[in-house]
Each structure stands twice: as structure tokens, then as C-alpha cells.
Symmetry: C2
Subunit: 394 residues, 2 copies
């Protein structure tokens, strides 16, 4: 350890997570897991550096106490100060291999597997790991020269039930979400450039509170304005906001890679159109009814059914999923890519699961959005942010 660093999670918490992962590995009959998803690596080892644009992976053997982290050589120190791993569990590949068409960093992974006699075991590879291309994963599969088990998001699913410490960080992220949303709302006015609004949002996202600073969110805020609010994923422009314009703002604070997303709807002017204020009110009614209905043991399909009644009652016309599991995340998004709140998902709620529930109403020429991030509690659901769901008038 070259620098005294206090990590966000104890070694014990990381060991508990690793045990849960190994249990899942055992249950699907694999002894070694290769996973390259930066969020899964962070969750398992604590490693957090902007190094995931080059190939890196984590080797978990059910017979080895620690995972082996394989990263670029120039990032070795980053792993030493940002994980509890011992030095012989952090291995660096040589720099000439980056973007080199004649050699691949995962050559080192293959030789490590042989060195530790792991390639003879039953190997599973997360073939759906974020930031890892078909080319990278194929290099491993071809190199192993034996059948492997294709794993999809095994660790993502383990991540769904949070520990109390993870919930703490999501609540800290929630405070940052609130102040960032307020910074955005405060800046919104006719004539202000959209980019100036988002500049204030970003400032608040990173500044955090007086007790703690913010981490970078896994994706940028989205703020589609006017007719563009009919679609959810557009960022800002540098055009000035117009009088009598509506917009939606969706963003998240982040704390140690934990997120707490939130969306709100704004009208710039004195008298919002009735369809916009009605849609916002009804979306909020749907969010509240759905949250009130939640209890552990319920399936996500049942949660969706509660929403669907309000959706039909007010003819809101929302056809997309109502939400998804959230937590620790790296680019490109704060999503965990596991369970969704929708008719087909039979995932059963367990305390300390966390979801982003999004009532996004996208019509032909305008949109409204009200969302909440909630935690499943012993008896119901607790929203992490505390912010009126009204249509904000600016």
C-alpha cells in the first residue's frame, strides 16, 4: 500500500459479496468466473478508476480467497489504493498491447489461468459484460480451447439486494440528486441557455453537500425541451429556453458510484397547457399509488399492474417499462440491467432492493415525467429523495 486510503467498504463487506457470488457460481456449476463489467469489478473488489476504456477483467475462482484483477500496467497503483486486494492479486499487462492489432491484453488472462491451473476447471464468462466487446470476449473463449459456460450478468443480479452501507451511499446520492435538481430548477427561466442550466446541475452533482462531495454520474443529465420532450434521451443544446415551453429533467447524484435518479417536469410561463398539467398530476398519482402498494414478496409484474390501472384510468398511454433496478454503476448508464417493472417480470421483491420507477408520458409533441428511486423495506417502499412531484412553474 503506497498511500493510506480509507475505502468506502470494509474488507468484510467485500468478502461477503464474494461469498454470494461464489454461491451463485456453484449453483450454475462453474468454478471460475471471468467478468469484465466495471460495475461488477467495483462491486466485487472496490476498484474504481477511469481505466475501463482498455480491456480489463476479474478472475474469480471458488477455490481462491481473492479475485485476481487484470488491468493495464499503468493502473496497478490505482488498484492498490482502491481495493483491499493483496499485491499478488493485481496483475498488469504491458502497455504495447493497448489498441495493438498484433497482440491482446487478454493473452495475460489466458496465461494466468494456466499458471493458477484454473483453465482446467469449469469456466464461465460473463458474455454480456458492459465495456467488453465481442472481439475481447471471443479472444478469451477461443484461447481457452474448451467449452465454457456463457454467463449473463450473474454479478449484476447479486448486486440487486443492497447492504445497509450501500443504502447509506444511495441516500447520500439522494441528497446530491435533490440539490442538483434544485440547481437545475433554480436556473430554468426563459432566455437562459439550456447549457447554462446543465452547467449548474453538474456543479451541484460534483460539489455534493457540506459533508461529502459527489462522484461522477454514470450518464449525463437529459433535458429534452419543448417538442423534443416527446422523447426521453436527448441532452441539452445551447439554445435559450423559450417562454411557454415545457421540459423534463432527469438526473442522478452519485456517491462512491451509487446513484439515485430522479425526473421532474417543468413549464416556463404562467399558465401551463391543461394536457401537460394533467399528465404530470396523473403521473404523480400513478407513482404514489404504485409506491403505496409495494411490499416484500410482491412480484414486479404485480407492481406494474397497480400502475397500469392509473395508466388506463387517465389514458396516459405509457407503453414502455415502468422502471428498473439501480445502484452502483459506471458509464454508459446508472441501470443495473437486471429486473424491470413490467408485466413480464416475475422477480419477487426483497427488502433492500432499489428501483428507479419512471412515469414517463411521451406524447406526439410533448412529454411529462415524474420518477422516484425507492428502496423496498420490511413492510413497504421508501423513496430516497424528498421532492414535490408537482409540475414546476418557472
Amino acid at each position: 500500500m503506497t498511500s493510506p486510503v480509507s475505502l468506502p467498504f470494509t474488507r468484510q463487506e467485500h468478502e461477503k459479496r464474494l461469498d454470494a457470488i461464489k454461491k451463485e457460481m456453484h449453483s450454475i456449476g462453474i468454478e471460475v468466473l471471468l467478468d469484465s463489467d466495471p460495475a461488477n469489478i467495483f462491486y466485487t473488489t472496490g476498484y474504481d478508476a477511469v481505466s475501463y476504456y482498455t480491456p480489463q477483467t476479474m478472475i474469480i475462482s471458488i477455490y481462491r480467497t481473492e479475485p485476481i484483477l487484470v488491468i493495464r500496467k499503468q493502473d496497478l497503483l490505482a488498484a492498490k489504493v482502491r481495493t483491499h486486494l493483496s499485491e499478488d492479486s493485481i496483475i498488469g499487462w504491458q502497455d504495447y498491447m493497448v489498441d495493438n492489432e498484433h497482440s491482446h491484453p487478454f493473452e495475460l488472462v489466458l496465461s494466468l489461468l494456466n499458471e493458477h491451473s484454473l483453465s482446467r476447471l469449469k469456466v464461465g464468462i460473463d458474455v454480456d459484460a458492459g465495456m467488453t466487446t465481442h472481439f475481447d470476449t471471443s479472444f478469451l473463449i477461443k484461447g481457452l480451447k474448451k467449452p465454457i459456460t456463457e454467463v449473463r450478468r450473474l454479478i449484476n443480479f447479486v448486486r440487486m439486494i443492497k447492504t445497509d452501507r450501500e443504502i447509506d451511499y444511495m441516500k447520500q446520492a439522494a441528497r446530491i440528486t435533490e440539490s442538483s435538481m434544485r440547481a437545475g430548477l433554480d436556473a430554468i427561466a426563459a432566455g437562459v441557455r439550456e447549457s447554462d442550466v446543465i452547467a449548474n446541475v453538474y456543479h451541484a452533482q460534483i460539489k455534493g453537500t457540506s459533508e461529502y462531495g459527489g462522484d461522477y454520474p454514470a450518464n449525463p443529465p437529459v433535458m429534452p425541451t419543448g417538442r423534443r420532450s416527446a422523447t426521453p434521451h436527448l441532452t441539452w443544446s445551447d439554445e435559450p429556453l423559450m417562454p411557454n415551453q415545457n421540459l423534463t429533467l432527469e438526473l442522478s447524484g452519485a456517491r462512491f458510484r451509487y446513484h439515485c435518479p430522479l425526473a421532474r417536469t417543468v413549464y416556463i410561463g404562467k399558465t401551463p397547457p391543461k394536457d401537460l398539467s394533467d399528465a404530470t398530476k396523473h403521473a404523480s398519482e400513478g407513482v404514489q399509488a404504485t409506491l403505496r402498494s409495494i411490499s416484500p414478496g410482491m412480484a414486479l409484474s404485480e407492481v406494474h399492474a397497480v400502475w397500469e390501472k392509473i395508466n388506463i384510468k387517465h389514458n396516459l398511454g405509457k407503453t414502455s417499462r415502468l422502471g428498473y433496478s439501480v445502484g452502483c454503476a459506471f458509464p454508459p448508464s446508472w441501470l443495473e440491467r437486471t429486473a424491470s417493472i413490467r408485466p413480464e417480470d416475475t422477480t419477487v421483491l426483497v427488502p433492500n432492493m432499489t428501483f428507479h420507477l419512471i412515469a414517463g408520458i411521451w406524447k406526439n409533441h410533448w412529454g411529462a415525467e415524474v420518477s422516484e428511486t425507492f428502496r423496498v423495506t420490511d413492510r413497504g417502499a421508501e423513496t430516497l429523495c424528498d421532492m414535490s412531484q408537482e409540475l414546476y412553474i418557472r
Copy 2:
């Protein structure tokens, strides 16, 4: 078109790019190219929305004027207002397919290929496209039921030579890089939280200038401090900066997805240690000597050789590559993932190629970094930012 939008590039420029891509496709013997990399999609069609966390792709046929963009249904409008594509070239997949273990959005891609009689042609797939996993790409390869050509970063390489309009945006990004670096340097002082420094950086990155706002950079700033500056990719903490501490700050402004990265070194205190001030001075000397040597027709290996002389002369010990091609980019990084400035790279310089040249000196317990983004001109190299390479004292 549901909203009047002025796009950053003309239809003519996009057509020229597409022609260049089709020429490359022809030269490697493919008639259809599937590419899912968000930067390649943006480059070819102009599409720019935060939708790349779900599978999306672009189908280019050398026999069809426009590419076909296949995205999630709720993002259709985003593509209509952010591309020149006609409506029948933008196809949306149904929402139930997102994160659904029983169906895949690329089913639609396969049926489109059949519908347009494209699957009978010679198909190439970019198997190394960012944001697209082994699982996603394998779904296409298996579904095509015939041999395909594995393509690696074909469009990335086409992107290397910029048009004048692209250079304009990189220069606009450079102005934002300068103001963001200044915002960071101005905030740095003993006792200030690292997160408060970066909050100011982000504010400047998005605020931009009085003439134009900023886009979100493809990756966060990095600011390793003190002993952690011995490694390049750590972000900030919320600890206060310490007296007599050094740090490096690397960041980029962004304008319409175009980047212009820059790194500088800072010492907090009155008298910097000699090894730090020497390393910064020598790194700067190396950067300047290398830039002065550049001319079109030179190979990147030759560019590196100029640097290597300074590296050896001052015993700087830099073993990693000296830089890489940059331009338009989406998360996780501003890199184009093509050519590198290093001994093995024989890429020949052509006017309007753009590179980030990084003299990063990472010792055991400290680091110094001086970088410049430059454009190859008709006769030499032009740096895009104008900012002293000194060791900044705060």
C-alpha cells in the same frame, strides 16, 4: 421532422463520410456493414442521444443511399430530430425487448436484413464496437446463419482525418478545455476539497463560452493527487487538498461530441520539489521538440522516436505510448481507438489528423503530466489549446 433543428453537420458532409465508409467496405470485400459503436453511428448519421445503454445498430449497404438506424422505439423521435435520415431509415424495436432474457432487440435487425434482401450479400460486422457486448454481437452472427466478415473499427479509422468543420468543433472544444482547466487551476488551493475543484471544472465544461455551450465529455476529468499522482486514471475524492502536495489534472471540453484533451501539473505550496519541477520542465521540452518535428508523411513511430531522445536524455522513464488519435467520442473515453504514437505504429501522418500527445511521467510516489492535442497541418503540427506548459504553483 417534428421539430425544426439545425444539425451540426450538413447532409452533404454526412454523405461524403458515408461514401468514404462504403469505399473501405468495398476494399475489404463486404457489401453490408453492421456497426453499433455510438461514435461511429454519430459520425455516420449525426444521431446523438443517451440511448446507447440498450442495443442499437446501424446497417450500411453499399447499394442503399442511407444507412438504416435501428434503435429503441422510444428513441425514434430523437433520431428524427438529430439526423438527416428519412423516416424509413429509422426503425424502432419494441420496449418489452429491453433487458428481456427471452427476446433480443437485434431480432429486428435480422428481419430487416431479410426484408431488404441484405442478408444474402457479403456481410461484415464490427465485432469490436464500443457498448456492444459479445452476447449482442453473437446474436447477430448466429442469426445470420452464414459466415460473416469480422470487421474491427473500420469507421474509427475513417474518422481519423477530420474535415474543416470537424476541426472547427475541436477548436471550439479547445476554448472550453482552456476555460475548464483555468476553472480547475483557479480553484486549487490547500484546504479546498478535491470535489469542489472538479465541480468548477464541470461547470466550465458545460457552460462553454459566451458564443456556445459545452457538450458532455466522453469521460470524467481525472485528478490524482499527492502519491496517487503516480497513476493516471484516478478521479477525485472529497478530501481537502494538502499543502506541499502535487497533482495532475487531465480533462477535455466537448462540442457536439468533439474533444480536445489537455493535462497539466500543479504544485500546492511555495517551493516545489526539484524532481517534480524538473520532470514537468523536461516533459514540456519533450512535447515541444516532438511537436516541432512533425510534418505530413512522417510515421507515428518516427514521431515517437523524437520524443524518445528527450525521454532518454532526461531519464524520464516513460514506457507507455505517447498518445493517440482523438475526435468525436462517446463514453467511456475520448479516444478513437485507432493509431497510437509509439514505436510499433507505422501510420503515416496526413493533414487534419488529430492526436492527444501525453508526456505522462509516473514515478513510484509522484507523477507529472504535460499534454497537448494537435492537428497535423500541411507543413507541421498546430496545437489546439493555448496554455502554458509550466508547473502551476498554487
